[in-house]
């Protein structure tokens, strides 16, 4: 299970990174979202992976799973979701204001301003 989990996390992170380095705003936003998914998976695994174990210590002292990473992941998911929503809206604003979804779209205007 560990190998599968690690592979999935790594592939997600690699895809996210690749998309985040693209030149258009939408792939960048999707890439950052994928990156945050892989980070969430990674964070979830930091307490160690257990199957069929509850996040509570019972009286018998049986197998249990660390509850803290689950709490951390929940927080990270909420924050990541809000940030993704914000960046999607921002990307739409960029498209609307600059008339292009290229991440360097503003450069042309800027250099002209500096020269004058």
């Amino acid at each position: 299970m560990e190998a599968l989990y690690a592979t999935i996390t790594g592939v997600l992170a690699a895809c996210g990174l690749f998309l985040a380095l693209r030149g258009r705003t939408f792939p960048v936003v999707v890439g950052l979202t994928l990156l945050s998914y892989s980070v969430n998976l990674f964070l979830f695994s930091t307490g160690g992976l257990n199957t069929a174990a509850a996040p509570v210590i019972d009286d018998h002292g049986g197998q249990y799973t660390d509850p803290l990473p689950q709490a951390l992941v929940l927080t990270a998911i909420v924050i990541g979701f809000a940030m993704t929503a914000f960046s999607v809206i921002l990307a739409i604003r960029v498209r609307g204001e600059l008339g292009s979804d290229d991440v360097h779209a503003g450069r042309a205007n800027e250099s002209r301003e500096n020269k004058s």
Binding site: V28, L32, F42, L68, M83, L90, R93
Partner: protein, 506 residues
């Protein structure tokens, strides 16, 4: 008094919520709420500093969950000082915004208060994950504030800023996760305790986590390979927001100081002081490139933004020296540079308002309407930031130069720091003489006056430089004690974890 440490977070939160209730209401009550909240914050911060001067470290356990299990807020000299610095800077910024900037978009004051909450929380928290949460709180408020008023350059600069910070947040989580996986705790004091007796195979993991954290904080602080976002974002931001952003890069500096002296300090064995050599060289390089930026800037806003990078480089070099004297010097230099650069952002905005079309560009153009107050402020600010006596920059830099030990440090620090000071003076005097002296006759009719509010705000922040120079004695005594307190991690850990638990850890 028991609940004092939580007030710097609750006060802006409630003020922010109050301002959210009626987003399109009249401007006047909103300004009053914002001003009162910020004034109260200054008072609370003064009370905190006053409390911290006795040298005791206090913590506030949220929900009375005791550390290391619960989240705690820690007030020591350093965090109290940073909260006071933030509140003074915020006061200047709010007063300036009340002169009209807040009417250019919706809910300026509400967002501003929420950002203050995030900044104060980041300074006070004693928990690594909680630090991440407060980083996000201040970031999401800063995204909205950066775009306040709209406009093409602002929107475009903010997309870069947002994308970069989202990637940075992902890295932060990776680092925190790695450290949690290896040490099993998120409380900074507890982590510092456990890092000394780790298994060898976990040692490498912790090292990876520590260096990842350095990247994260380095991006916040605008350290060398990670600073390229800063000049564009800060130059595009509205002036009062840019002034508050002057403290944002110092959050990165604060986090580096906190994490690498407390968690990875001398007691951490092979992991001790692992960031300092990196920070030293990268700090010097940041200093050099920041100076080049100051010289090359063709716009006053960009020039002030590069001055921030210059000061960040100086502070990082101070951290890299890793001695009590250096830390004391940089803690004196930090508030000075934050307040002056904040004041300069406000000042440049006022200058741009009076120059019509030319704005803040450093070109021969119409003169300003009120050259005397603006020129005087610019002179004090420029001399203060460049490190000329009799202002505070000179004292801070002298302390830092004195703290360099041995020819290895002295040769590098003295040449780079003094050289950058000289070049900064050249750049600032060139900019100042172009703007104020090489000006064509001015048009008296259509420009905005400086006005009483802008005057007070700029005076408050720029005036900090002579005041900090006047009270340099007590201030350096405080920073010296702060540096000693930081070096004494045992006392910190003992206060938070308690002596009996320290004995129990194998």
């Amino acid at each position: 008094m028991q609940h004092l440490p939580i007030l710097p977070i609750l006060l802006p939160l409630f003020a922010g919520l109050l301002l959210l209730l009626n987003r399109d209401g009249a401007t006047r009550p909103r300004r009053i709420i914002s001003l009162i909240s910020t004034l109260l914050l200054v008072m609370v911060a003064i009370a905190l500093v006053n409390q911290a001067t006795d040298g005791e470290i206090r913590y506030y356990a949220l929900g009375d969950w005791q550390p290391p299990f619960g989240i705690i807020l820690v007030v020591d000299r350093l965090s109290a000082m940073m909260v006071l610095l933030t509140s003074v800077l915020a006061l200047g910024s709010v007063i300036y915004a009340c002169a009209g900037e807040d009417e250019k978009g919706t809910n300026y004051h509400g967002l501003f208060q929420l950002q203050l909450m995030g900044i104060n929380g980041a300074f006070l928290t004693g928990d690594l994950f909680n630090l991440f949460v407060f980083f996000e709180v201040l970031l999401i408020a800063s995204y909205a504030l950066l775009m306040h008023g709209g406009g093409k350059t602002r929107i475009h600069a903010s997309f870069h800023y947002v994308a970069l910070n989202l990637a940075n947040s992902a890295l932060f989580l990776l680092a925190v996760g790695t450290l949690y996986g290896a040490t099993g705790t998120l409380n900074m004091a507890d982590m510092a305790l456990r890092i000394g007796n780790l298994e060898p195979e976990q040692m490498e993991l912790v090292k990876v986590g520590a260096m990842l954290l350095l990247v994260v904080f380095g991006l916040k602080a605008a350290m060398l390979p990670l600073y390229f976002w800063l000049p564009r974002a800060y130059a595009a931001a509205p002036a009062p927001v840019a002034a508050l952003f002057a403290v944002m890069s110092k959050i990165g500096i604060y986090a580096i100081i906190r994490v690498y002296t407390l968690i990875f300090g001398d007691h951490a064995g092979p992991l001790g002081n692992l960031a300092q050599p990196w920070v030293w060289w990268l700090g010097l390089a940041t200093l050099i490139l920041g100076t080049v930026g100051v010289l090359a800037a063709r716009d006053l806003r960009a020039q002030v933004a590069y001055l921030i990078i210059l000061s960040v480089g100086t502070l990082l070099a101070g951290i890299g020296m890793n001695s009590i004297a250096a830390q004391s010097a940089l803690l004196y230099y930090l508030p000075h540079t934050t307040l002056i650069t904040g004041g300069l952002f406000l000042l440049v905005d006022s200058i741009a308002m009076q120059r019509g079309q030319a704005g803040s560009r450093i070109v021969r153009a119409r003169g300003v309407k009120e050259p005397v107050p603006l020129g005087l402020f610019f002179f004090i600010g420029a001399m203060g930031i460049a490190g000329m006596p009799p202002f505070s920059g000179a004292i801070g830099k002298t302390l830092l130069l004195q703290a360099a030990i041995g020819p290895a440090q002295q040769a590098w620090l003295w040449s780079v720091l003094l050289g950058s000071g000289l070049l900064a003076i050249i750049a600032m005097s060139r900019a100042g003489s172009t703007v104020f002296w090489r000006a064509s006759p001015r048009d008296e009719t259509s420009v905005t006056n400086l006005g009483i509010r802008r005057g007070i705000a700029i005076g408050l922040l720029i005036g900090a430089s002579p005041i900090m120079a006047l009270f340099a004695g007590p201030l350096t005594a405080y920073t010296q004690a702060t540096a000693e307190q930081l070096a004494n991690h045992d006392a910190y850990i003992r206060t938070i974890i308690g002596p009996q638990e320290i004995g129990e850890v194998p």
